[in-house]
């Protein structure tokens, strides 16, 4: 009994001494701020900042090689907290969210073939350019939904939709989309053009019932060219997100029905 107690106590003592020595001589000095910054980051490890996970970004921040404010998921609050820890200026960021610039559902946009293969947009696009008549629109095979770290994207009626509340603006969907139909836009913007086809009106109408024809009515209704709410690429209207329109009237007046007020975008459903 006594021997057992002594033995155990002895082992414990020796181990404690070894640990104490090891701690003194073998410890790795790490900037404690790295841990604090990592804690301040959202921990989604989405990679949207361009670093391998939140920890990687935190190290880069502490090392001073990354700008504060690259975390889209954390937004302003996160940047401010990091600024407090590191004593650096927070670059002003605006929350950005993904927008699928297409509203050509199965019932509106024609399909030109029966696609038979893997459910992935990139390979579907490699097969005869995809089965959608409009070669600019969303194919709806869910490559973006697969890659989204927050499950913010769902496919409905052959079309990807983003849930604005879940989206953290990491941009992974933008990078993977073969049709480049997804764009990061300010979360505060309420009026969007949901079309990506720069072709002439008749060509668009041949493949989609809700495609932009470039009629410029949205521009006219929002105060004309001088107001600068819209830009045009070919025969496609684009919202100028630096100066977004706010008048919901223009959505109702769009003859192509390719504009939407936030609702469509809000819930993802």
């Amino acid at each position: 009994m006594t021997i057992a107690i002594v033995c155990i106590a002895g082992v414990g003592l020796v181990a404690a001494i070894v640990l104490a020595i090891a701690d003194k001589y073998l410890s790795v000095k790490e900037d404690p701020r790295i841990g604090m910054v990592t804690a301040a980051l959202p921990g989604a490890n989405c990679g949207g900042c361009g670093f391998p996970g939140c920890d990687g970004y935190a190290r880069a921040l502490v090392a001073g090689t990354a700008p504060n404010g690259a975390c889209a998921a954390g937004g302003d609050a996160c940047a401010a907290e990091i600024a407090k820890i590191l004593g650096v200026e927070a670059a002003a960021t605006e929350k950005r969210v993904a927008l699928v610039k297409c509203c050509g559902t199965r019932s509106e946009a024609i399909r030109v073939g029966d696609y038979n293969g893997i459910c992935d947009c990139n390979v579907a696009a490699m097969t005869a350019g995809g089965d959608k008549g409009c070669t600019y629109g969303c194919l709806g095979y869910g490559a973006c939904a697969n890659v989204c770290p927050k499950n913010a994207i769902s496919i409905h009626d052959g079309l990807a939709r983003v849930d604005k509340r879940l989206c953290i603006g990491c941009g992974k969907c933008v990078a993977i989309c073969p049709k480049k139909v997804i764009e990061l836009v300010p979360a505060s913007a309420t009026i969007h053009v949901l079309c990506n086809n720069p072709d002439k009106g008749p060509a668009v109408r041949k493949v989609c019932g809700v495609g932009c024809m470039g009629c410029h009515l949205c521009e006219k209704n929002s105060g004309g060219k001088e107001a600068g709410h819209f830009t045009f690429e070919g025969f496609l209207a684009k919202v100028n997100y630096a100066n977004p329109p706010t008048d919901a009237q223009i959505v109702a007046k769009c003859p192509a029905k390719c504009m939407a007020e936030d609702a469509h975008f809000e819930s993802g459903n």
């Binding site: 030109v112 073939g113 029966d114």
Partner: protein, 332 residues
């Protein structure tokens, strides 16, 4: 308004646009056809109980498969015939006189636990029929080791508890002391049926494992139809032969022709899902099965080790696959 779809709709798919017309159900049908001779011989020797066991296992497997898929909300897969193959293989691995409710329990285990729990066809790590057999052997040891004599309705004591394997097990030990009791060895040898009986299957045993000739015909059919390759059966049987020549005991031909070696090597170990894909891996797999089978026969507590040998190798199969990856054409 949706524009009118005028253009003809073609099928859009990635190349190739042609197919060899092989299919999973055709492969399974081939296995069933290959099992016909041994099924027929089993019924010939063991009579109506064999028919009932086979019918019960096959029917239970199909029903279990359908119910599991339904419960999991997945596509129904009974059309691929894999459940029928599992049912038949399980029945062929049971003694003819087993109570039918036990056959039902075994079949439910085979499909429900050993296959569908892992996601169905292609996902199971162990051969479902063998897993069920091992489960039954442990759960119902008595009935699972009580054998009907072939053509039992013609003999006064229809039920026996000893297969040739049980006698052969003793021979490993007898061999060691052969000098002391040469009579014991000779006596044991007498209990092994003659070669002809071993070939046609005139001995007690499971329904489908007794007739080596019927099994060989089936295996030959599978080889001709290119359903299986020669690697696993040859490696398996060769290992058993070499082992028994080295270890002594019962003659090598008796080790191959009794118990589950023939059906195991040709039909169970060659199960695609649970065996390696490459030729090299298959040779390693066959060798492992043969070696383990003989080790269990010599040193284990059961007289027969074939099922356990294959199950253990099933577990190692992913590892073998990893070690025997093919070297790409042009790779260093």
């Amino acid at each position: 308004m949706k524009p009118k779809e005028t253009a003809a709709h073609y099928i859009l798919s990635s190349s190739p646009h042609t197919h060899s017309n092989s299919s999973v159900s055709r492969i399974m049908l081939d296995v069933l056809l290959a099992l016909l001779p041994t099924t027929a011989v089993g019924i010939w020797f063991f009579g109506l109980p064999a028919v009932w066991t086979i019918a019960t296992c096959v029917a239970t497997c199909i029903v279990t498969e359908a119910l599991c898929r339904l419960a999991m909300g997945r596509d129904n897969t009974i059309g691929d015939l894999s459940a029928v193959v599992t049912g038949l293989l399980l029945a062929l691995n049971l003694p003819a006189g087993i109570p039918l409710w036990m056959a039902v329990v075994g079949s439910v285990f085979a499909i429900g636990v050993a296959k569908q729990v892992f996601g169905g066809i292609g996902m199971n790590p162990f051969n479902p029929a063998l897993a069920a057999r091992a489960f039954m052997l442990i759960s119902f040891t008595g009935p699972m080791t009580t054998w009907l004599k072939p053509l039992w309705w013609k003999t006064p004591d229809a039920v026996t508890t000893a297969t040739p394997l049980a006698c052969m097990k003793g021979m490993f030990a007898a061999d060691a002391t052969a000098h002391a009791t040469p009579h014991a060895a000779a006596k044991a040898l007498e209990q092994i049926p003659c070669l002809w009986d071993l070939l046609i299957g005139n001995m007690p045993g499971c329904i489908g494992e007794v007739s080596a000739i019927a099994l060989a015909i089936g295996a030959a059919y599978l080889l001709v139809r290119k359903v299986i390759t020669w690697h696993i059966p040859v490696a398996f049987i060769a290992t058993v032969v070499v082992y028994s020549l080295i270890a002594g005991g019962a003659p090598a031909y008796a080790q191959v022709l009794t118990g589950g070696v023939m059906i195991g090597a040709c039909f169970m170990a060659t199960d695609y899902v649970t065996s390696p894909t490459t030729a090299k891996g298959k040779l390693v797999f066959g060798f492992g099965c043969g070696l383990l089978c003989m080790l269990i026969r010599q040193f284990g507590s059961y007289p027969e080790g074939c099922s356990f040998a294959i199950l253990i190798m099933n577990a190692v199969s992913p590892l073998i696959n990893r070690w025997t990856q093919p070297k790409p054409f042009g790779a260093k």
